[in-house]
Each structure stands twice: as structure tokens, then as C-alpha cells.
Symmetry: C2
Subunit: 438 residues, 2 copies
């Protein structure tokens, strides 16, 4: 083994901190060679680390020669002299550098990563994600996701929610029979969980308020720009509600937390991508499904909103309430899963909602049934064998409060924020009908 | 639908807040009937909510009669008068109550949940987890887990780590060929990821420092008290290290964060379970594998430490350093996966470690290879087809820094803290050779 590193991490200076050091002092940067710019008498080396870019000015002929053999993406450690320069990123650069390569010279990346826009299509990006995710715009998109997860958790943590970890391997595929992956489970058949729905409900019986951020699995047989075989679901469920409106209050708090967390931890990423962060209103405007149909001029018997309807309703909410969000409540029971609570007084409708965000459904949620007799009736109505739901039904016969919850698709949220046309653009290593690698 | 709830959540008083209300004022509690204690002239109703227990004193004969029909675990809303009483939990109770049942009378639970100790064996608990997890000791164990996850994330977030979400469906099972679950993936074969190892390494190339808290899957064909088919892995990986000792510094910070978070968010749970939280030393003591073998009097050619060795070493660390933790570094290369970095100067040993905590291995970690040529050699040595690792190897040929990381098993950590003999005792809905439900 050759020695690989000469500086303790503590002595390394990050790109963002370079300008805070005194001019004339020595400093060591470490990172990836983002770009080399060779001029007649000087070569600029732009170094990338986790905090951004730093400029290194190389005039020594031997070092310029050395740099010829260190292509972009090679990882190096650079020791030089801090020099103020208003035209350098951050206002300082490193001069008179000594460069040590920390690995072998890199192969040329499939796309030039230093260009401000990503110069290739989605398939190239996805095929080479291990490298192309390094492009600042791809990194930034995931930083929005990462900050969103943190904000979701801290908003719900502040409201006394307990984080749970539910099984992803389940014995029955009853929540929705279609689109499940089957697993060979020690010679028997298991399924990958499509959501933590049944588990988060059971755990309301234990902790009252629970959330989970984790993978869910859908064997989507269609290629669409909105669907993935695995995505990250931000799930919450809470007890002792009056109805789905109390769920909307918590959903609002969660989304506000996600937006605040982006402002706090990923503001640069948001700026780089030109994200126009939504203002989260003190209360989401709400329209009943029946009135929503009427507003868009649809047939009153339509069981669902079309994408065009969702866009029109979002535009209306923006005009009428100045809101990027609109909750549509009362979706027809016929289109909702068996655990959905009907609307008191008119059981055609449900105590559930979709939250539209800038023209697209972001979240589905609502109140669930909680009385054992209501479950018995719902299972009979939907033709579901109660034996398949044994453990789940136990929770209800042993006492469950009125409760409800919601789930936000993380990648869909980030795609909306960044106006990505395809959710794959903002997913680290997407899985779909055609893609299982890298 | 009958009306289910009469009080807005905002007006509900939590058990923990009852004593802070003025005596003589009305208040409404909501929760589960934890216990009814029927005396000659008075019935005590102990109500359980997410914050603890509250006592309600019932003297009105009609209400006592009503309570006869509301067995333990029935969910109720209770409105009464706040009354100071030093012998009530928290120093206050509710008197002259009106009780509204929020669901149907509960079936008797499989175990009396109000008894301080859980009065049944593990199989009963696991078969009825949806109900028996409500026992305060089971709830408390998971609260330790929940607080630990939060502490892990906040410690690493403070160190500039980016949270990632890696694919759980993978195309090749090369990290370790054995014990993988196979999935029918649109007619092809996929595998459930045994760890995010390869992805967290690739993403070091993007973010330098990454962590993930998520499910990992092992098709463990043996029934043991330590292994599960799914568990929660707390994973971290970081670039620009000198060697595995820099990884240990971050591991120490992560564990310190987990302990602090328990103290902050789950102190009552820890007290209930009699958890003796470890002091996390400023630096973990370290012993080389070779010296560890000598210290326990084992054959110097032993390739691994036995459970008895681990216990003896932990005892020694406690005596010699006053530490509940001991890092054993230098494990034989022969027992480590292909990406392990050998010890410079003596390639029998590795730059990797196990962290022992109170007699048991808690964590494995270490430095990884980062040069493409080292990967080529390692794959040849271990007979692994590089074509199976295409995307992963791309990261290295396009520039990766020296890096390393670790993974902590959440359930194993909590089992150690609570001295649970079986990791299933502290897992919400464990999955193993025989168990796929509830």
C-alpha cells in the first residue's frame, strides 16, 4: 500500500472556509479536480469538496506539468498559500501549490461535470449515476431531499410523534392486491410492503402519534415520469382526531418544517436550482371533491380528478387564496381503500383528502375507521378475508382511537420543487421496470 | 356513523400536564383505560395516553356502572374536575368524571397490560404485538430506539453528513453471496440489499460524508437470539480519512449523540427499564486483534473472536480504561469483505475494526480500498466478476478519496442497553425464519 494521505482531517481546510483564513498563511485543501483551465502562463485548478469550489493558481512549470497527468475528477490534496482575490470564488484562492494525488488519475467522466448545465440526457445520467450525481445540479437536488427529510422529522418530533420502523416484508398483500413484488421468504411467499399503512395504524395504538421515513415498493408495470418501483415515503399517523381536518393541520406543520429545513440547510442548493420555495399558508385552503368537480366543469359522477383538473384547481387556489397548496376533501369512498372513514351523513364521500401542490397530487391522507364493527363491515363490503389481516384487526378489537394520517412521496415533492419533468432526475439510484442498476 | 369525538385535540389535556392545571377547573383527558380498580365505594380509573398515566376517581354509581361495561384498553374521553392529590401519579387526579367511549368496548388483551412486568413469554408478545407493544415496558424499549435514531442523525448532521436513501432492490448479490432474499422483479431476479455498503461508498464520491438509517435484509437460515431477517441499520461513510482511526472518531460522536438523545427524549423510558446508560469516553480504547487474541489466551492463528473472547475483552476494557466500549482493530483480511483496506506494512491484517459494547460486537467498520487498481486486485483475489459491480467500480475509476465507515444495528444496540436476551424483545414486528406476521 502506498501512503494515501498526509494531512489529518482536522488540518484540512474546506472550500467554504478558505476566505476566512489570513492572507499569506499556508493551507491545505482536499477534493476533486473539478476543472483545469490552462492559459499561456498560468493554470487554474478548480477544486471541489463537499462545501463548494475553491480556486488554485498554478504558475510553477513542474506543477503545471504534473496537472497535465491529473484529469478532472482525480482526488488530490493541495497545499499552498492563501491569497485574497476578489475574482476567485469566495474571495480567496490558493497560490504556489504543492499537489498530491490521493488516488490514481481519473478516467474522463461520461459528461463534463464542471459545465453549469448537465450536458446529457436522463439515460446517460442514470447509467452513470455513481459519477454524474457529482454534478452540482444533481447534488443540489438531493440536498433538497435530504433537508426535507430532516424537516419532516423535526416538525413531527416537536409534536410528540414517535419514529417507527415497520416491516418491509409482509405475509399478505391485502392493502392493495395489485403491483406488489413477491419475495422468496425461506421457501414461502412474502411481499414487499407497498406502504407502512397497516403498521402505522397499529402503532397509533401504542404511541398515539407515529411517523416513518422509509422505502416503499410498487411493482409499477408502466413506464411513467411519476412512478418508481421504490421510493421514499414520509408517513405519519395520529390518534385522537375529530376528523381529517385535524390530519391536515399536522400535514401543514410537516410541510412547513420541510420548507424551513430547506431554507436552513439547503439554501444554496435551492438557489442553484432556481427553486421558488412555496409559502406554506397558516391553513391549507380546502374544497370538497363535489365542488371541485363543479368548479372544473366535470361530470358530477366522475370518480377521480384528471391531471388537467388538478392543474386547474391549483391555479384557482393560487388566484383565490394565493396558495400553492389545495386540499381536496371528500373523495368518493368507491376510490378509497377499505380502512377509509366515510363522511358522516353522506357515505358516498370519505373523510379523506388529496393535497395538490402546484398542479399535482403530492399527498393522500385522511381519517381511518377505528371501530372493529366498521372494519368487519368494510371487509365484507370489499370482499377481503379478515383472516389475512389478523394482527391488524386485533388492534381495533382491543381499542383504537379515532385516527388518521398521510404519506408524502419524497421524490415527487422534490420533483415539484425543482420542476423536474421526471421523478428519476431527483432520485439517487431509481428503480423501475427497466432499471435495477447501478 | 356515530359521532366519535367531542373535544378538539387542542382542548384535550395530556396526562403529563394534568398536575399543572388549577385545582377545581374542568379538564378533558383522552386515552386507553389502563386499569380499573373497583373498591367498595369508589372506582379508580387509570387512563393511559402517549405521555403516561392519569388517575380518575369515580364515585357516582351510574358512572361506576358504565365503567363495568368498558374493559381495559377501551378508548375513552373523560371530562372531570382537576383535584390535587399527592398519592395520584403526578400529584393530581380527575374527579366527578363524565366518560364517553370513543370506540366499542375492548376485548380483554392477551396479557394484563397494567401489570408492571409483562406476564407472558416472547411468543405471546410477538403473536399479539399490535396489542402487547402497548405494555409500558415494550413501549419504553422502542422509545430508546426512536431516540437513538434521532441522536445518530443529529450527531452526523452536525458533522456535515448528508442523509441518503439507497436502493433496497439490487441486481447482484455480490457483497456477500449468501443469505440474500430473491425478489421477482418484473420477471427477472432481484435481491434485497443486505446493506447500503456499495451505495454509501459511491455517494462518498458525491457528498463526501453520508449516512442512512434504514432497513437491511438478511435471509438468516438459523434461529438465533441476535439475528433478524430485517433490521434497522445506522450506516455512515466518510471521505478524506487517514485511516480507520478517523472513522472511529465519527463512530464515537454518533454513539455519544445516541446516548445524549436518550437522555434528552427518552429519560423516563430508560429509567423504567433500569437502563444504565454508558458513558462514552472522549476516545474509544483500541486494541489490535493480534494483541486481543494474546490477551484472552487464544491461538494466535484464530481468525475471529469467540463470544467468550468478546466478553473477556470487554471486561478488560472496563477494568483497564473504565470503558464500556472497546475497539478491536486489525481483523484478519481473510475474514473481511473485498473492499476492506489492508493494514499498511502487514497485509495479513486490515484497517478495520469491531466495536465491542458490554461484551458484544455492536458495530463493524473500517477503511475501504479507494484506488481502482486495488479493487481490480481484490476482485481477482476473491474471484469476483467485475462485470457484476459495474456502476460501483465506475466510482473508483473516476476518483474516490480514502474513505471508510461503519454500521450499527439499532435493535442490537437497544438489546444491549436493556439487557434483553433476545433482539426480538426490542423490535416492533420482528421478521425471522418462522415469522412473517403480524
Amino acid at each position: 500500500m502506498q501512503p494515501t494521505h498526509t494531512t489529518t482531517p482536522a488540518l484540512r481546510v474546506l472550500a467554504r472556509d478558505l476566505a476566512s483564513l489570513p492572507t499569506g498563511e499556508p493551507a491545505t485543501l482536499a477534493g476533486w479536480i473539478h476543472r483545469r483551465r490552462v492559459l499561456a502562463s498560468v493554470t487554474f485548478l478548480v477544486l471541489r469538496d463537499r462545501t463548494g469550489l475553491a480556486q488554485v493558481v498554478v504558475k510553477d512549470p513542474a506543477t503545471i506539468e504534473q496537472l497535465h497527468g491529473l484529469p478532472e475528477e482525480t482526488v488530490v490534496e493541495v497545499t499552498g498559500t492563501v491569497s485574497a482575490n476578489d475574482s476567485a470564488p469566495g474571495g480567496a484562492e490558493l497560490t504556489a501549490p504543492t499537489i498530491i494525488a490521493l488516488t490514481e488519475p481519473a478516467l474522463p467522466p461520461p459528461v463534463e461535470l464542471w459545465r453549469p448545465t448537465f450536458g446529457a440526457g436522463l439515460p446517460t445520467h442514470l447509467d452513470h449515476a455513481a459519477v454524474t450525481l457529482r454534478h452540482p445540479r444533481h447534488r443540489a437536488a438531493w440536498q433538497l431531499a435530504s433537508a426535507s427529510m430532516a424537516g419532516f422529522r423535526s416538525a413531527l418530533g416537536a409534536l410528540d410523534f414517535t419514529e417507527i420502523a415497520s416491516p418491509k416484508l409482509v405475509g399478505t398483500a391485502t392493502e392493495s392486491g395489485a403491483n406488489v413484488f413477491t419475495v422468496d421468504y425461506f421457501g414461502e411467499t412474502a411481499y414487499l410492503a407497498q406502504s407502512p399503512q397497516l403498521y402505522k395504524q397499529m402503532l397509533v395504538g401504542v404511541f398515539e402519534r407515529v411517523f416513518e421515513v422509509g422505502p416503499v415498493f410498487r411493482a409499477e408495470p408502466h413506464d411513467t415520469v411519476r412512478h418508481l418501483a421504490q421510493y421514499t415515503s414520509l408517513d405519519a399517523e395520529l390518534g385522537f382526531i375529530r376528523d381529517h381536518r385535524d390530519v391536515l393541520v399536522v400535514l401543514r406543520a410537516a410541510i412547513a418544517g420541510m420548507v424551513e429545513s430547506i431554507q436552513r440547510y439547503a439554501a444554496e442548493a435551492a438557489a442553484l436550482l432556481g427553486v421558488d420555495l412555496p409559502e406554506v399558508p397558516a391553513e391549507f385552503p380546502v374544497i370538497h371533491f363535489r365542488d371541485a368537480l363543479a368548479r372544473v366543469g366535470a361530470d358530477p359522477d366522475e370518480p377521480d380528478l384528471s391531471p388537467a383538473h388538478e392543474r386547474a384547481l391549483s391555479e384557482w387556489a393560487k388566484t383565490a387564496y394565493g396558495s400553492d397548496f389545495l386540499a381536496v376533501e371528500g373523495y368518493p369512498m368507491a376510490k378509497r381503500p377499505f380502512y377509509t372513514c366515510p363522511q358522516p351523513g353522506d357515505e358516498r364521500w370519505s373523510n379523506s383528502f388529496d393535497l395538490l401542490f402546484r398542479g399535482l397530487e403530492l399527498t393522500t391522507g385522511g381519517q381511518r375507521l377505528h371501530r372493529p364493527s366498521d372494519y368487519a363491515a368494510a371487509l365484507e363490503r370489499t370482499g377481503t378475508d379478515p383472516a389475512l389481516l389478523g394482527g391488524y384487526l386485533d388492534a381495533f378489537s382491543h381499542g383504537m382511537p379515532p385516527h388518521g394520517g398521510f404519506a408524502i412521496g419524497l421524490e415527487r415533492w422534490v420533483a415539484r420543487l425543482t420542476r423536474a419533468e421526471n421523478v428519476r432526475e431527483v432520485t439517487l439510484f431509481p428503480r423501475d421496470l427497466h432499471r435495477l442498476a447501478p
